[in-house]
Symmetry: C2
Subunit: 308 residues, 2 copies
């Protein structure tokens, strides 16, 4: 069983969907990644920054799940990163209403000594320079470095993004971002160009249409589970990444075949995340819930070829 | 091995894509359905109408593949249905440039005597009254009636569409059409409402995102094969339907499990169709080509669950 280090935000989110709205609730990439990865009962640590307005309860939630928080800096008198957004009726697009960086503006991640030899590094969506600084602190070469990013960094820090991409094994981005990064409409061609930028594995997330995993000439398609309703998509991508990273750290098998299963675990956990606001569903998830949904994924995609 | 009767257009198409444009070439739903279904070497017949401008070569192509054309009416001095369209750069949307109904305006399908007891009836996209008139000619209840339709009939003949839907087993429509027909955004809820309108099985086509098969509480997700390029999407939906219907007629097994495989055969054949203009690729397709691509579909979606 391997060690996992997670870098990403701990945040307050305020969310509006067609189903309702929330006050400031627990959010942030490191939160969703940590909660998802903790399902595998691995040794993990979150590296992040918050203000002293961040409730102790939220930190306790992570530690109660076995996520080490020695690498979470608490800034006295500082305010925690805050994001607010409103989802459209189709739940596939959203408007950002507020982004207050607060303490995140001065985030210099420090990986705790005991996690500098982690097997798996999960770089949540942050400035690529911040992501790079985490890699520079590793004392042994990780077996797998996974990077999540978004169009904002392609627009504003493309050179830095290209630099960190040389040092990673897996990138997770959505379909539109893959197209933006490469100028290619075909996701097959886009994945090939992204391989050439560094990562051996490319995960392209397509929301309700599932996710694609590319490795050289191999491709794997994990559908999203068709759901009666998506209540709140916030954190689904991070939950996917956390399930993916946590499963790899747990198994220590970095073959394409095992990465396929990691994608299924990520998709499975993400399918729970969207059922309630914020982290609500992820906090109350049993092994039996997960087992049952994995079986649903299996029956969703498995078929027999009988003739010709 | 069952008999299949196909009703649909035989047409001239003129197509513009970012890769080039064609003069008037062979097109039409019955053409694509017939060519796809003929891969299963079943006893099939096309019911359609053309003018005397329709080349004998095009009719010979169908008969050479074992598609009976006794039900194709040739109108002396009439002109064949003509459609012209231009695809946008993303190949997911298109503008219709010309629609000339010509002889299709007076189409009264007559099912040849020997096919009125067919096991499978494939109703290609036509006015729902025309589709209904084919069902009324059947002398035995078919094992499976499959109906393809489009938003045009929802806008212009909704009551007639609802009527024919009571007599069918499978409907194939795209995701936007499923939403239009039901007023539901969630495809799970939409499929449930469509079940209540008649068909036991609902196939929702999502283009490059694959296809969903619903039956009561069961759902199956067939991805589309990720392709380096889509050359011409014309006929992909009809080729899917033809593969689906042909496989069912061949096997005579109408269980949900076997319909899953039928969806995979449909997707496989459709993935060839889009590689060249019009019917070009479908005319030159070997059993080995199909076998190889079925294996690709298998490796695209199959995975192992190893823990928890």
């Amino acid at each position: 069983m391997g060690k996992l280090v997670i870098v990403g935000t701990l945040a307050f989110d305020a969310i509006e969907t067609p189903f309702g709205k929330t006050d400031k609730i627990l959010g942030g990439a490191a939160t969703f990644i940590g909660l998802a990865a903790s399902q595998f009962r691995i040794d993990s640590a979150a590296v992040s920054i918050v203000g002293d307005d961040f409730p102790q309860d939220y930190l306790d939630l992570l530690t109660s799940r076995g996520v080490n928080i020695d690498g979470v800096e608490i800034v006295e008198g500082g305010k925690t990163f805050f994001w607010s957004g409103r989802y459209h009726n189709d739940m596939n697009s959203r408007d950002t209403l507020v982004t207050e960086l607060n303490t995140l503006a001065d985030f210099n991640p420090v990986v705790p000594e005991g996690y500098r030899n982690s097997d798996v590094v999960m770089l949540g969506n942050l400035h690529p320079i911040t992501q790079m600084s985490v890699l520079e602190q590793m004392t042994t070469t990780p077996n797998m470095v996974i990077l999540d990013t978004m169009n904002f960094w392609m627009d504003n820090a493309l050179e830095d993004l290209h630099n960190v991409m040389k040092y990673i094994d897996v990138i997770t981005i959505n379909d539109e971002e893959a197209r933006q990064l490469t100028g290619e409409y075909s996701l097959v061609t886009a994945a090939q160009k992204i391989h050439e930028m560094g990562p051996q594995f490319v995960v392209i997330k397509k929301g309700e249409h599932g996710a694609l995993l590319f490795n050289e000439d191999n491709v794997f398609y994990a559908p999203a589970l068709p759901l009666r309703e998506v209540f709140d998509p916030t954190g689904a991508g991070d939950t996917f990444a956390g399930g993916f990273a946590g499963y790899l750290a747990k198994t220590g098998d970095y073959s394409f075949e095992n990465l396929k299963t990691a994608v299924i675990y990520g998709s499975t956990l993400a399918s729970f995340c969207v059922e309630k606001f914020g982290t609500e569903r992820m906090k109350n998830l049993s092994a039996a819930d997960i087992r049952k949904r994995l079986d649903q994924f299996k029956s969703l995609t498995q078929f027999d070829i009988k003739l010709t």
